[in-house]
Symmetry: C2
Subunit: 148 residues, 2 copies
């Protein structure tokens, strides 16, 4: 499985989000054979919708699936509790994480639940997110529930 | 705070969902003064959208809020991991649960994170959910990620 190519899809979504003025987190869901099922990005700013994180958007775009154990969710940033809960509830088998330097997420919690977690520590993902947080800290903190 | 009246809003959403052929879980988000901010219901069947649980729909409908610590999320059914993650990430202060007989959720996990959890053990919520699970078990199990 070429995880780098999969991450490129998620990163393209994140870049589009950044260009739209949104939180640059992108994600994509693939089947066991590496076929793309859905791709998406955070839409808090674009749609004024706090419920759409990159992971939940990709999950939505993939439509109804009867089973997620053999699916692969690729995300540019380590998932927050909301998205970690999605992964755990629907038993998504594998999660590929672009970076966890800007937000460490809850990768151990996922691993303990049996999720296969693959960390790519991708410099491009890290740089894009860092740029956004520096530029729009208030939106970033709103997006992770840490507004003052 | 009249939690029973708040639950009635969520239960009306659940009943509408049931009448539409959907998973009958409804929810509503209120501010600290009891003002309704958003109400919604599970839309897996109606919109063919697996990302919309009752809680996430109410959260979405309430729009962007800068802080959730003083907000009250009322739901007809104990939240799954996905919705529990939402509550925890956004630091929703209070969760009112209609029933946990049909799905026990992760109420202890929320309490440990400092969420105030109020259980109403409402017979009408329990009966509606039980009716749906008996009638459409395959949709129910799909909705909680337990399809065979």
């Amino acid at each position: 499985m070429n995880y780098a190519n999969m991450l490129a899809v998620a990163l393209a979504e994140a870049q589009t989000g950044f260009d739209e003025g949104g939180v640059p987190v992108g994600a994509a869901l693939f089947d066991a054979g590496g076929k793309l099922l859905g791709r998406g990005r955070n839409r808090r700013v674009q749609d004024n919708d706090p419920s759409v994180h990159g992971e939940t958007d990709a999950f939505r775009k993939a439509g109804r699936q009867t089973n997620y154990r053999d699916k692969i969710l690729v995300t540019t940033l380590a998932p927050c509790w909301y998205c970690s809960g999605l992964i755990r509830q629907f038993n998504i088998g594998t999660v590929v994480v672009g970076e966890s330097a800007n937000f460490e997420g809850h990768l151990d919690w996922l691993k303990e639940a049996g999720v296969k977690v693959i960390e790519l520590n991708d410099p491009a993902c890290t740089a894009l997110m860092r740029r956004f947080i520096k530029q729009s800290p208030q939106i970033w903190f709103e997006d992770i529930g840490e507004s003052k």
